[in-house]
Amino acid sequence: MKDIARQSMSIKVESMDLLNGQIKMEAHASATYLAMASWCEQNGFFTSAKFFFKQAEEEREHMMKIFNFLVDTGGNPISPEVTNINHDYSSITDVFESTLEHEVKVTKSIHNIVKKAREAGDIATERFLDWFVMEQIEEENTVRDILDMIEVTGTEGVGLQMIDNQVANWIE
């Protein structure tokens, strides 16, 4: 019997489902960073706002990378529904701490897909995610450095203004 399924699609459906979940997660991250940019603008952290606008764009690019991979492999990419975006933060430290939490969650999710793809012998998906694994190291490191800078600078007096100014160092 001719294998028309394999001729039309080159990854496993389980990987496709997980990648669709990741598309949703990246879209959620993009929307979350947009909400953070909005918070920063409203609270006078204009450089941080720029940082989060940029992050929101990057997350959307990640989403599209996965979306296009599913197109290329003959899968069924699903345009994600994005709901429950938090717009309330107690401080700029809270914003960056939430960012780090979010990035760690994304990293764990990507590692999980790599693990599952490996178990399923889905080499294409596993290799595709190599770039994301390295990208997440960079993303986590950036936010960790910003949190370290916040700790060193302190939030008293002109500290908040200095923090916002220094965030410029992490905008590429």
Binding site: M1, K2, D3, I4, A5, R6, S8, M9, K12, V13, E14, S15, M16, D17, G74, G75, N76, I78, E119, A120, G121, D122
Partner: protein, 106 residues
């Protein structure tokens, strides 16, 4: 046409010469490309079957399923939905696009 998998109510066929699949829904034979079969899988897998057991969430225990870009419309009861989920699960294993059995056998 070759039978890929037969469940209680439905049968999935592969028509290699036409490069497509057919599902016999009993009253209707539906021709599908792999993309349409993937779309059916997504629709079936996103049905919240637990809602069928809560009269507030799904009062009558029916699902409306539109297939092949709204070409076909089916109204399925709980047992039919469960059977279709079963067909989709086993069907994708049988056509080699699901890793389920491979993972289990390792």
């Amino acid at each position: 046409m070759n039978v890929i998998f037969q469940s209680t109510y439905y049968t999935l066929y592969q028509a290699a010469n036409e490069r497509c699949y057919y599902i016999d829904f009993g009253q209707k034979l539906v021709r599908m490309s792999l993309c349409q079969l993937l779309s059916l899988r997504h629709k079936v897998n996103t049905i919240a079957i637990e809602n069928h057991f809560d009269s507030d969430l799904n009062a009558h225990g029916f699902e409306v399923l539109m297939l092949c870009n709204k070409e076909h419309l089916f109204i399925l009861n709980t047992l039919e939905v469960l059977d279709l989920k079963n067909l989709v699960d086993h069907g994708f294993v049988a056509i080699g696009l699901s890793a389920k059995t491979e993972v289990l056998s390792q």
